[in-house]
Point group: C2
Chain length 124, copies 2
């Protein structure tokens, strides 16, 4: 087996970040909306703060990014991807940012995300 077999693996209770990254994200009606670009970890607590879903654009140009709380991503084995409990239109209205906007200072965007998804702030 190659290293990547461990890297892209799954156990009974866990999944590797390497396997989550790149996985497709679908709306409730089965429309493909985007894919998980990466998973952001709270450095202090080791919780997943949010996943970054990428959608739109071409070769990274014009792409937009949604910070999504982990709790809204439900894995659907039949779809082979994550399903978010919103239709495409409502998900597209969720807070999204360009790469420049989604910069290292998350204080500029984290509150709208937390409010939209009705989840506790990950930064406290």
């Amino acid at each position: 087996m190659a290293i990547s077999d461990v890297a892209r693996s799954e156990t009974n209770s866990c999944i590797s970040a390497g396997k989550v990254n790149g996985t497709n994200v679908y709306g409730v009606n089965g429309d493909k909306i985007g894919h998980v670009e990466d998973v952001m970890l709270n450095k202090r607590t080791g919780n997943v703060a949010y996943a970054i879903m990428a959608f739109g654009g071409f070769l990274g140009i014009g792409e937009r990014y949604h910070p999504l709380p982990w709790s809204v991503l439900k894995y659907d084995p039949d779809m082979g991807g994550y399903v978010v409990p919103l239709d495409r239109a409502r998900l597209e209205n969720a807070p999204s940012y360009s790469e420049q906007e989604l910069g290292p200072d998350d204080r500029r965007w984290r509150e709208p995300v937390s409010t939209y998804w009705n989840v506790p702030p990950y930064w406290m």
Copy 2:
């Protein structure tokens, strides 16, 4: 900016899994011990259950893997990597597994890991 700039990014409170993966791990005396191969997430809670540190081997052959609790990995900006509060010899005595042993059934190895590092079980 390319997509990878988002993927390998960091905010004031968070770090992306893509940036953690591949980061070197050092012992307290500065010896390089290995690197983070991947980060395993608890599917239900979204907590980091453990990081998989790879060490030894060549092109993946003979490589061994340590499941390390997130809480023992302290990032050291001067080293540009994670420092584990053990010297190399003691870290090498921590539970480690071949790729075959570190399979999808984590019940075969998770208890020794939890006991060695004195951390609560991640699977409860």
